[in-house]
């Protein structure tokens, strides 16, 4: 027998009666229905028939609601009060959702996770691609680079910048800046900071006015000018507590005193700068006056109003062609590129961010599909309730309004949950994409939240309204008679739900394949031979003083002292030093060309990684010597020279340098030959660089990371080619900290101004080099785990619902002799058919989509059969698990009960 009170209460909901009045009416009506039902039963009617008649009689053309409406409604002015009707709708919605608490919580959790992860991820992607830089008219800012004939791009040499500035017409202003690590000396000790060497218009080009004081003038950026500095906003806050009286004070960086003339407005330069100084001061220190020197300087320009990027690019290419003719040695074959600053800056995180955004988008889709399925299932269950309420005279509008309120409440709950999820995951994401932070400080974006909530809300509303839409096509009497079991309407819904499950499975398979491929890449990277033996190796960077007057030969002497003393220490197996330590994100490339062949065209000048190392370095790292020999004292020493690259080069032209090359360089440039004893020239032909003789070939080692390709590399002797900052590499059985303090002691005795910073093991450094990849795995793994869970849940819910709908059929089958195992098989088979369809679609989609991932993979093909098969098997296993419980339930149906309920 139905719960009359509940039925009447739902029927009255749209009237928004006073609670106590509603209770009275409900009681009276329920009493009436009960009386009528009992009368029918005592007249010999079957229970189902008695219920049906009672319900039909509760319906009347002069409907209950319209009848009560006139009598029971509150005062007219109450009804037009904004929100009063809505408030009651909301109250009823709450009550209705509370009655099916489990359902509501699942919907809110599923959508909340979808929304939350989407918002967090979208914010990062948005910062990278969609949101303009927080600078005035950012669309007019462009990054200029030189493009060598071999492709790619490189920093602009300072002399070329000066010519560009003179010749170009497209820009309102154009500026150059390079960032170098130097030592800030204060009374409390020293600190490594980043010093930006910039041209006078640098801050003006970015459109950042000084926060206090002044910017640079043209006169500051000339040889012989007074040394003046501008602090970055952040540095001003951290080191001077935002003191407005900072101008006029001095800073000592290395051995140079700078007078602070201003503080830059708050903006983040992607190269990083704590203190800015005029670039004229870096000319000799960093060899910037050489046209061949493409050191770490970037050129930024602001387009004139109305000038497009394409126009600027065309002009710059013409200027570059002109300069290539004028300076064929340094500029031969080089062109120029002009890209919008935003595009340039988001390069680093584009690939992973887009991938993750795709993943998170899929997750939101899965969540929406999942909730849609749940709501459709609930619609089927509520079909009878809706039918009764329609019979009792509820108008379609009232039904829609109430279901809409329920759906909106669900969407609201999901949005709040999503906000919490977003906050939690956002912080974590910033650690995964630290590059995103340099895009101008990002915080959760409300527009993004609105986007996700809209997607989820739309799902909730669309599918939440299904029962109301259905109700117009519903045969009321039939729905009441069948007690909400399958009818024609619900078969359409059933098909829709199955399609939703297939979609979810397909998307989950795509995500699992993505995650699987990344996991395999990570494993492959871990198994990659780095070319050295990292165990028991400690790396300790040493920073000699950067004084212009410092003697470069002192650096080499200091390294010799440190390495000799360490070598004599018990427990030290091997020790060496190098300026380009692997896995430290430092690279130095140098052009070279064989001098036993015709000089190649500028476009064809080869280039390789260049390092300056001691002989002991190879033994300490465990890099094998394959041919020839390593450096010996006879290979020469640098004489006493100040820190001026042009003078160093002038000296090196007078000697024959020795070099050790790696296997890749040997086989690429001396194929089929013995390179030992062969010579090449260092630098581009225009530089007329020193002659270099190859004395040995060592094994290849990875410089940038386990998952990065091996490149050709040549090593000069640290005794001859000056080392500006070195890393001491020690193979030892002693504790890293012991080695660190030992090195500190030796350095202090010899060169008190030199700094010893952190002490790390090579294993830690290697591990860190894979952090990005590991984070990607973690992230995508997490997404795919959630996706699989949701898909499993969707499958389970669908199967459970189907089984519930077919209880009678199962009972009948068993009454006719089917075994429990047959019934179980029937249900599991149905689950497998759904999952099979989903897996097939997912595999196809993955084959198409894997191209997106291809560039992020290492040591595994984008169409790796093992991964695909693994993901498919996993999904099938999950399907079996998800269908088994409903199947088991179906097989426990008591045939007699099932038949009786029919």
């Amino acid at each position: 027998m139905p719960d009359w009170q509940q039925l009447i209460r739902e029927q009255l909901a749209s009237l928004h009666l006073q609670p106590e009045r509603e209770a009275e009416i409900v009681e009276e009506f329920a009493q009436h229905a009960e009386d009528r039902y009992q009368e029918l039963r005592s007249g010999g009617q079957e229970e189902a028939e008695a219920v049906r008649i009672t319900l039909e009689e509760l319906s009347d053309r002069e409907t209950l609601t319209s009848g009560l409406h006139g009598v029971e409604r509150r005062e007219a002015r109450d009804r037009v009060l904004p929100g009063s009707g809505l408030w009651r709708d909301v109250r009823y919605g709450f009550r209705s959702l509370r009655n099916s608490l489990g359902f509501s919580l699942v919907v809110i959790a599923v959508l909340g996770i979808g929304i939350g992860s989407n918002v967090a991820m979208f914010t990062v992607v948005d910062a990278a691609f969609l949101r303009p830089l927080r600078l005035p008219e950012p669309e007019r800012l462009v990054q200029l680079q030189e493009t060598p004939p071999s492709g790619g791009s490189m920093p602009v040499s300072y002399p070329n910048f000066v010519d560009w500035q003179r010749l170009s017409q497209s820009f309102e202003s154009i500026a150059i800046g390079g960032s170098f690590e130097e030592t800030l000396r204060q009374s409390g000790g020293y600190e490594r900071i980043r010093v930006g060497y910039v041209s006078a218009d640098f801050h003006k080009t970015y459109g950042v006015p000084p926060a206090i004081g002044r910017g640079f003038a043209e006169s500051d950026d000339r040889a012989g000018a007074e040394p003046v500095a501008i602090l970055s906003y952040r540095f001003w806050q951290s080191h001077f507590a935002g003191d407005p009286g900072v101008t006029g004070r001095t800073l000592q960086i290395d051995d140079q005193m700078w007078t602070i003339v201003g503080v830059a407005g708050s903006f983040q330069w992607h190269r990083g700068g704590d203190v800015f100084v005029p670039i004229a001061f870096g000319q000799s220190k960093y060899g910037l006056s050489m046209r061949e020197n493409h050191s770490s300087t970037g050129v930024i320009a602001r387009l004139k109003p109305g000038v497009s990027v394409v126009q600027a690019r065309t002009e710059m290419q013409q200027i570059a062609a002109q300069l290539a003719k004028q300076y064929p040695g340094a500029n031969g074959g080089n062109s120029a590129s002009v890209v919008p600053l935003r595009e340039f800056m988001s390069g680093g995180i584009r690939q992973p961010a887009l991938l993750m955004f795709g993943a998170v988008g899929l997750l939101l889709l899965i969540a929406c599909a999942n909730v849609a399925g749940l709501l459709l299932a609930r619609a089927a269950v509520r079909q009878r309730e809706i039918a009764i309420r329609t019979a009792l005279g509820a108008s379609r509008l009232e039904l829609v309004r109430q279901l809409l309120t329920e759906s909106l409440l669900l969407a609201l709950g999901s949005a709040l949950t999503g906000l919490v999820v977003a906050r939690l995951s956002f912080e974590w994401l910033l650690t995964v994409f630290p590059a995103a932070e340099s895009l101008g400080g990002i915080g959760l974006d409300l527009r993004v939240l609105a986007f996700s909530v809209a997607a989820a809300g739309l799902t909730a509303v669309l599918f939440g309204l299904a029962p109301a839409i259905q109700s117009t096509r519903l045969n009321v009497a039939q729905a009441i008679r069948t007690g909400g079991r399958a009818s024609r309407g619900s078969s359409v819904r059933g098909r829709t739900r199955k399609l939703l499950v297939v979609g979810q499975v397909a998307m989950a398979v795509v995500l699992s394949i993505g995650a699987g491929l990344l996991v395999r890449s990570l494993m492959a990277a871990f198994q990659t031979d780095p070319g050295f033996r990292p165990e028991h190796v400690v790396a300790v960077p040493i920073q000699p003083p950067d004084r212009k007057t410092a003697d470069l030969s002192d650096n080499a002497r200091l390294l010799r002292e440190v390495t000799d003393r360490l070598a004599a220490t018990p427990g030290v197996l091997a020790v060496g030093a190098i300026d380009q330590m692997p896995f430290k994100n430092v690279d130095s490339y140098g052009d070279f060309y064989r001098d036993d062949r015709p000089v190649p065209a500028p476009a064809a000048i080869p280039n390789a990684m260049k390092a300056s190392a001691t002989s002991g370095y190879f033994a300490a790292m465990g890099i094998p010597l394959l041919k020839g020999r390593l450096f010996v004292p006879a290979d020469g020493y640098l004489p006493s020279l100040p820190r001026d690259l042009s003078r160093v080069l002038a000296y090196l032209r007078t000697v024959e340098m020795a070099a050790v090359i790696n296997q890749t360089m040997a086989s690429r440039y001396w194929p089929g030959e013995d390179p030992i004893g062969k010579t090449f020239r260092f630098g581009p032909p225009s530089m007329k660089g020193p002659r270099v003789r190859i004395i040995g070939v060592v094994g290849d080692s990875r410089q940038h990371g386990l998952d990065q390709p091996i490149e050709p590399q040549y090593y000069f002797s640290a005794n001859l080619f000056p080392i500006l900052s070195a890393t001491i590499v020690v193979r030892t059985s002693r504790e890293p900290a012991e080695i660190g303090s030992l090195i500190r002691t030796i350095v202090n005795e010899n060169q008190p101004e030199a700094m010893v910073t952190q002490v790390e093991t090579l294993e830690t450094m290697m591990d860190r080099s894979l952090a990005g990849r590991r984070n990607n795995v973690l992230l995508l793994g997490l997404f795919s785990a959630i996706a699989l869970l949701l898909a499993a849940f969707g499958l389970y819910a669908t199967m459970a619902y189907t089984v519930a709908q077919r209880t009678q059929e199962m009972g009948l089958r068993m009454a006719l002799g089917a075994a429990a195992a047959d019934v179980r098989g029937l249900v599991v088979r149905e689950g497998l058919v759904l999952a099979g369809a989903g897996v097939a679609v997912g595999l196809l989609a993955a084959v198409v989509g894997a191209r997106v991932l291809a560039s992020m993979l290492y040591g595994v093909a984008a169409t790796d059969a093992t991964t695909y098969a693994g993901a498919a098997s996993l999904m099938v296993a999950i399907t079996l698990a998800a269908s088994y419980v409903p199947a088991w339930r179906a097989s426990r149906v008591d045939p007699m009960t099932a038949l009786r309920s029919e």
């Binding site: 009275e24 009416i25 009681e27 009276e28 009506f29 009493q31 009436h32 229905a33 009386d35 009528r36 009689e57 509760l58 319906s59 009347d60 053309r61 002069e62 409907t63 209950l64 009848g67 009560l68 006139g70 009598v71 029971e72 009792l392 005279g393």
Partner: protein, 114 residues
């Protein structure tokens, strides 16, 4: 024919009079009222809950009848309705009006006034 369904509009027009008449001198609950109407009209007039109760509430709101919950031993409480003083006057007036109306209709249509 008593069992013939009676035009809904006529039913609507006479509903108040029917209910007030049944409550004359004796309090009754809703279900009893609906059964009595059906029984005395020999099935010709029926009021289902959906239309009966709104009517009862309307009459109560006008102050013609008054409802109150009564609990009898061993039974669930029920709401009984009885005529108020105003209700008694309204019933008398409506009876008079109804008789005049039926007579007038009879004169026009030639239907005998039983």
């Amino acid at each position: 024919m008593a069992t013939k369904s009676i035009d809904a509009e006529w039913k609507k027009g006479s509903a108040e009079l029917l209910i007030l008449s049944l409550l004359e001198g004796i309090p009754r609950h809703g279900y009893e009222i609906s059964k009595l109407i059906e029984h005395r009209s020999e099935g010709g007039i029926r009021f289902h809950a959906a239309s009966l109760y709104p009517l009862l509430y309307r009459l109560e709101k006008r102050g013609w009848i008054q409802g109150r919950w009564v609990e009898k031993s061993g039974q669930r409480r029920r709401r009984y309705y009885q005529l108020t003083a105003t209700g008694v006057k309204v019933l008398a007036a409506q009876r008079e009006g109804w008789q005049a109306f039926v007579a007038a209709i009879g004169r026009i249509t030639g239907v005998e006034n039983a």
